[in-house]
């Protein structure tokens, strides 16, 4: 796909993902930062609201979307492992604390307590990795628990309905579980890196260096705006997501939105890739250094 990248672009499509608490995305659109950045190049900016990581990588491969502006590391690794042309441009966020395991059973406090319990959450995501890593701290594997694959809202509903012991939750859902007085078993802190990245195709990167440069400056502009007008930014986010301000303020603390790729990030990518290989989600080992531009 994307065979037309050589020609000059007149349209640039970004994925638009607001959940769980993607402040830069919301602020960018609200302020029209990309739009004004690319205006003088004669390029219009469009958004594609693709929420699942698999859909995002699919859309990138098909050429309908040029920039995955907030895609999970796991999705990037999966698509790269399946021979897709995808590269990480820079970071979007890291938020290990936003990924949690909640239960109604107060007595569950250690990995050992999870043995034989029914646990649900989306497979192949940060949450899945969180569960595996948590179990690994007690030398257990996913086979020691009864793991079922479900999306986050569904896992939350199942927890509420009492048909689950533990739900793997993130973002607003996790916040709400906390409000409901559910018991937090563990969050991602120290267990996973929970990286969200910005990704493009290699082909696009090579064909449009000037767009890439502009994009990076736009990202800096967004970051600057947020740090200078934090209160206003959070208010905008609260309105967009229809959440109350307290929730947004609390959750915002879990996120690190710096865009720079650090060594820790690369290591985090590698550990995620290893986890996916070990749990059979990808068939071959992947060297994540191929995912980054030099």
């Amino acid at each position: 796909g994307g065979g037309s990248a050589e020609e000059s672009l007149d349209k640039l499509t970004f994925t638009y993902v607001t959940a769980p608490l993607n402040v830069p995305t919301i602020i960018e659109k609200e302020k029209g930062i990309f739009a004004s950045t690319f205006e003088d190049m004669g390029i219009s900016v469009e958004y594609a609201e693709l929420t699942s990581g698999a859909d995002q990588t699919q859309a990138l491969a098909s050429g309908d979307v040029q920039v995955l502006y907030a895609v999970g590391a796991t999705s990037v690794i999966l698509s790269a492992a399946n021979d897709a042309d995808i590269k990480v441009l820079n970071m979007y966020s890291r938020s290990p604390k936003a990924f949690c395991m909640y239960t109604q059973d107060e007595s569950i406090t250690s990995p050992e307590d999870l043995r034989g319990k029914t646990i649900a959450g989306p497979a192949g995501t940060n949450l899945h990795e969180l569960l595996v890593s948590y179990l690994a701290t007690a030398d257990m594997t996913i086979d020691d628990v009864d793991y079922v694959n479900m999306s986050i809202p569904e896992a939350k509903a199942a927890l509420d309905g009492g048909s689950l012991d533990i739900a793997l939750l993130a973002g607003a859902t996790a916040y709400q579980a906390k409000q409901q007085g559910y018991h937090l078993v563990a969050d991602g802190e120290g267990l996973i890196n929970a990286i969200i990245a910005v990704a493009v195709t290699n082909e696009f990167y090579n064909a449009h260096p000037e767009i890439i440069e502009k994009l990076k400056t736009a990202q800096d502009e967004i970051a600057a705006f947020i740090s200078e007008n934090e209160a206003e930014a959070l208010q905008t986010v609260a309105a967009e997501l229809d959440l109350d301000a307290a929730a947004v303020a609390e959750m915002y603390a879990y996120y690190d939105f710096s865009t720079e790729i650090t060594e820790a990030d690369k290591a985090g990518f590698q550990s995620t890739a290893d986890f996916m290989f070990k749990s059979g989600m990808i068939e071959n080992e992947l060297d994540v250094s191929t995912l980054f531009f030099e």
Binding site: G1, Y16, A19, Y47, A48, E49, L50, T51, S52, A54, D55, Q58, A59, A61, S62, D64, V65, I152, P153, K156, D160, G161, G171, A172, T173, Q176, Q179, Q180, L241, D242, L243
Partner: protein, 255 residues
């Protein structure tokens, strides 16, 4: 008294469900997160009404659905007609039609994104896939089940194949076609979540999905109600329209 009951009857079911819901909430069996009480849902509904977003969502979804439905109907009708006019053609495409009849549209999403992109086309295709088959099967049943005796009248008066189709088969099949359209219309609405899963930024399906992600059960319930009621209304309007069109044709399957 009896008359009041009779006018209320259609709403009785709904009233019962709401009453039960109210009771369950009052008894506090579930937390309000799990099952928001009616008043909270109503409040959210009012808020959405005031902001007007709900209208916009409904209209956008409605347009999508009508588009998908219209395409599906045309396709089903033409294919059914073709099959009726050239019966031998059927075996060439029947197998593939039957094949896709059983394939879950959700499983096609990745492929659809690939072929049709993430724009309106994919959403339309999902709706078409959802509503095509009941229409096609009912139309084919209507066309092939035509009374042989009436067809012979056409033969006797030197009607061509197409004339027989137009003047005998088509009116004869109208009840079947209408039932098919009705089922198809329902399935169009049902497909709205699947369709707006893909790169939608508005529409009632997107609204429900987003509320689900944000754990806003109250909004999800509002969305369900709105879809149900708007669907009901389109169905009724459609029924009235068609009854006008087929006036004098007696029962038309839209009761």
């Amino acid at each position: 008294m009896k008359k009041t009951l009779s006018t209320l009857a259609p709403f009785l079911g709904i009233i019962l469900v709401v009453a039960l819901w109210f009771l369950v909430c009052r008894l506090g069996i579930f937390s309000t997160y799990v099952l928001p009480p009616p008043e909270k849902v109503f409040h959210s509904f009012l808020k959405m009404l005031k902001s007007g977003e709900i209208f916009q969502d409904v209209i956008i979804s409605l347009v999508r659905i009508l588009k998908g439905f219209a395409i599906a109907f045309l396709l089903a009708f033409l294919l059914g007609m073709f099959r009726s006019l050239v019966p031998s053609s059927e075996k060439y495409y029947n197998c593939i039609v039957q094949f896709f009849r059983n394939v879950p549209p959700l499983s096609l999403i990745p492929l659809l994104i690939l072929w049709c992109g993430i724009g309106e086309t994919t959403k339309t295709v999902i709706i078409v896939l959802a509503s095509f088959f009941p229409m096609y099967l009912n139309i084919v049943k209507g066309f092939t089940g035509c009374d042989q005796k009436l067809l012979e009248v056409g033969d006797a008066f030197g009607y061509t194949r197409f004339e027989k189709f137009k003047h005998i088969i088509l009116p004869y099949a109208s009840a079947d076609i209408l039932v098919g359209m009705r089922i198809g219309m329902g399935y169009s609405w049902r497909a709205i979540i699947g369709a707006e899963m893909i790169a939608a930024s508005s529409g009632i399906g997107h609204m429900i999905l987003f509320a689900q992600e944000m754990s806003r059960t109250d909004k999800v319930i509002v969305g369900i109600f709105v879809v149900g009621i708007v669907g009901l209304v389109t169905d009724k309007l459609f029924g009235i329209l068609l009854r006008k069109l087929f006036k004098g044709n007696g029962e038309n399957g839209w009761n």
